[in-house]
Amino acid sequence: MPPAVQFTQVSRTFGEVKAVDQISIDIEDGEFFSMLGPSGSGKTTCLRLIAGFEQPSSGSIRIHGSEAAGLPPYQRDVNTVFQDYALFPHMNVRDNVAYGLKVKGVAKAERHARAAEALAMVALDGYGERKPAQLSGGQRQRVALARALVNRPRVLLLDEPLGALDLKLREQMQGELKKLQRQLGITFIFVTHDQTEALSMSDRVAVFNRGRIEQVDSPRNLYMQPATTFVAEFVGTSNVVRGELAQQLSGSAAPFSIRPEHIRLDGQPASGEVQVGGVLHDIQYQGSATRLEVRLDSGQLLAVSQANDRWQAQAQPWQTGQRVQASWPREAMTVLRETQP
């Protein structure tokens, strides 16, 4: 079985700018694959290369085993959910959803039936007669989803589809998208700059930076074992320790990462733990946890997160200026490769 989408040494340049730089990835059939990265990192360009809105400057893109470079979007078995939804304002919801079937010459009765089915799938039955302008943002987003899915694509591309929704709705849609993907069993390729979104929904995540891929891994591995300094800092919060301090704490000059929640501030170090002293610099109460910043004796700042699950923590609150000993187990440190600037 060939991968759903396969990039081999793909580059896309715009003048001097290398938007996508020698990328190779295999996206397996039926997986929920996210492309995560800051804006301008090349993730959206990759999506547009798969959809066919862009053509690669070099390299090969295969969709289900057949070469796609050079094929126009309308000859590809992929569909896109656009960031701005891109619903046709002059058509009602049903005609929007049935559009892909109409241009392929499907008879009216069948395309209306399939449009109704797709609308039911996204819980919008009975909205067929409305115009897009009469819908809320969340409803438009569902219509965009139904419009893409009605064509039964083997690969669905989603370009930051939840970006315009408010937090509650976004969390709800994340769950629904994941459920839909499992139910349909098709490949979802999801572009986002929101790392929590990528971590919570995906089977695998590719982290993009400056047109290159830093790491492709499962959300768990990405978080627990970041490969590079960029991934450690972009996915979640991390303390990246470099240079002399790294040498002193880990015994090697290579940079390493330690997550704030893996650091303890109370008690004595157990055997095999690393300990470093400092002064509490800043305290932020965040409900389930408290974020603390420790200025180490060497001058660096260390972010620490302490779960607020003990009454003691409340009885004896932290105070800025207080001297603390930070300690963590050796195995919590992950050695990183320095990302080339």
Partner: protein, 313 residues
């Protein structure tokens, strides 16, 4: 300190007027609108209604005198075969000019909206609008020379060895004439030339508002470029085409210079009004003719509206 400053300013007359206007926004609006309303209402609409009212006056053919005896005779006379012919001729020309302008303008507008930016776009704006800076009468006279026997147009047709075709076209009744400059075709060409910018700019504005993602979505869903044009681009540019056609249609209906200078003899509505109130002095008949384009445009607008052209606005 700041309180004292506030109180001092509050006592000034100007501040009190500002406060009053702030508290009564309707008064503010009224003061803003009185000058334009006076102009539009009293001077523009008033004189137009006054003119139309004169259409009910009686004109004596023998004494050439206008008497304020009310009659419907002038409006009835519009349906005389001779007058009705003028109306029909003008209407057909206005429709043909609008249609041809839309067909010619669409590709230019599409190119301007989708493929140009910065300097190229500025160049296109200037190129489209520059002809409008030149005098309209000069341009029309220039066209009489271009289309005349031995003129540039005929020379060009000779170079292409198409004189025979031109002769055939000129013999078609309702289109032709003895030469290009005295034919309906020639008049049509001049009208299209003169009103084309009024069609390009609104279509270009409509296409400019079209988000590129809509075209990508259409292609993504499997539509070929032709299907995207018919299903997405054209329907969404109809408000622009409608706006442009309102210009070309009404400007052609009211024009009285081009019909006099180019094309076969015979009146247009505009030149008829000109002749009636000028040479003949039959103000009531001129007024009756003035009503015709107003009615035609009203009908045209209601048809355009019924076609849904304004739904997407």
């Amino acid at each position: 300190m700041s309180l004292a400053v506030k109180r001092a300013a509050g006592s000034s007359a100007l501040r009190r007027i500002s406060d009053l206007l702030y508290r009564r926004p309707n008064l503010y609006l009224l003061m803003l609108l009185i000058p334009p309303l006076l102009w539009l209402g009293a001077i523009y609409l008033g004189s137009l209604l006054n003119l139309l009212w004169q259409g009910f006056y009686t004109f004596d053919d023998f004494t050439m005198a206008v008497t304020p005896e009310l009659t419907l005779g002038n409006f009835a006379a519009l349906f005389n075969p001779a007058n009705f012919d003028i109306i029909l001729r003008t209407l057909c020309m206005a429709l043909a000019v609008s249609l041809a302008s839309a067909v010619l303008a669409f590709p230019i507008a599409y190119y301007m909206a989708r493929y140009t930016s910065g300097r190229t776009k500025a160049f296109f704006y200037i190129a489209v609008m520059m002809p409008m800076w030149a005098s309209y009468i000069v341009k029309t006279y220039a066209w009489t020379l271009l289309l005349a026997k031995g003129g540039v147009a005929q020379w060009f047709i000779q170079q292409l060895h198409l004189e025979a075709l031109l002769q055939v076209v000129l013999q078609i009744p309702g289109v032709g004439g003895s030469t290009l400059s005295t034919s309906h075709l020639g008049r049509f060409l001049v009208f299209v030339y003169i009103w084309l910018p009024f069609m390009i700019l609104p279509i270009q504005a409509a296409l400019e508002r079209l988000p590129p993602s809509l075209l990508q979505a259409s292609a993504d869903l499997g539509a070929t470029p032709g299907q995207t044009l018919l299903q997405v681009i054209l329907p969404l540019s109809i408000p622009g085409i409608a706006a442009g056609s309102i210009f070309t249609f009404s400007l052609t209906l009211g024009d009285f210079i081009v019909p006099q200078l180019v094309g076969p003899p015979g009146y247009f509505i505009g030149s008829m009004v000109y002749a009636q109130q000028g040479a003949i002095g039959n103000m009531p008949m001129a007024a009756a003719f003035t009503l015709v384009p107003i009615m035609l445009i009203a009908v045209y607008l209601s048809i355009v509206k019924r076609l849904g052209a304004f739904d997407a606005l």
